[in-house]
């Protein structure tokens, strides 16, 4: 069983600061430099194109649907394994205590397996958040 098996998302920091651009065509025979000037163009797309914003929102909308699917799948999986609603309530009641005591020892003591702990966390999310 994994420790405090909350579902995890790795989110990779993306620095959205516009690059410092001080050179345009210097040192390139007076010709525009695709690399330097291209950054200006690409930055304009990020900062000004509503299409860029729409693409990001599209990505996060898909991500949100996936999260909902994962939660549903876990809950259905637990139903199949005959975890009763009453037991879920019992688990929920214990949640705050478990958090206080770092979870794992108490869960093992109660004989819950890792999968049930996942439901516990998700269920808590539905109930308390």
């Amino acid at each position: 069983m994994k420790n405090l098996s909350l579902f995890a998302i790795l989110f990779f920091c993306s620095c959205t600061i516009a690059p410092r651009i001080t050179v345009t065509n210097a040192g390139n025979g007076g010709m525009p430099n695709v690399i330097v000037d291209g950054k200006i163009f690409a930055t304009a797309y990020q900062q000004k194109a509503a299409e860029y914003r729409a693409l990001c929102l599209q990505a996060f909308n898909i991500a949100r649907e996936r999260i909902d699917e994962i939660i549903l799948r876990i809950l259905q999986s637990q139903k199949r394994s005959s975890l009763t609603l009453m037991k879920l309530f019992w688990i929920t009641a214990l949640t705050r205590l478990i958090r206080s005591y770092r979870g794992k020892i108490m869960i093992n003591h109660r004989g819950l397996n890792g999968q049930q702990w996942q439901v516990l966390i998700l269920y808590q999310g539905h109930r308390i958040s």
């Binding site: 579902f7 920091c13 620095c15 430099n33």
Partner: protein, 153 residues
């Protein structure tokens, strides 16, 4: 670094995921010395899990594989989000353009599912791969390599 804005939609999504009991980890190739400023920025936008334990800046290598494994050792990773293919898999670490494309085909079923990729036309390995990850090249040299790499019609 503490003045960076959020990617559109990122804040709402992360808060939504956190509300469902999902724990968020931030894996970045910013330096360790930038950790405090990065956390400060995450807190500024009230993003979930904005603390020391959930931020993984670059250590020995820019590859994120070890950091991904470290997190996966104790957590069930359900989703990875990023603007660079190397954010998702070691299959994209320091690969050339053709290899990157081939490996996207290999992992095609993951995008929009476990992998959520965001657009970034400004920088990333898509660009660095054109210069064989030689960061010491002059702009004019990069310019030549980029133009030479393009298809002509």
């Amino acid at each position: 670094m503490a003045s960076a804005d959020t990617v559109p939609g990122a804040s709402d999504f992360l808060k939504y995921a956190a509300s469902k009991g999902v724990e968020i980890f931030y894996v970045t190739n910013r330096m360790e010395k930038e950790r405090d400023a990065t956390i400060k920025n995450l807190k500024k936008f009230d993003l979930p899990n904005a603390d020391y334990a959930h931020l993984f800046p670059v250590q020995k290598t820019s590859s994120k594989e070890d950091r991904r494994k470290s997190i996966a050792a104790n957590h069930d990773v359900v989703m990875l989000l990023g603007d660079n293919l190397a954010d998702f898999s070691f299959l994209f670490d320091k690969k050339n353009s053709l290899q990157r494309t081939e490996n996207v085909n290999v992992l095609s079923g993951e995008f929009g599912r476990r992998f959520i990729i965001l657009p970034n036309p400004v920088y990333g390995d898509w660009e660095s791969s054109l210069y064989n990850y030689n960061y010491s090249l002059l702009a004019v040299q990069k310019d030549s390599l980029l133009k030479a790499s393009l298809h002509t019609y």
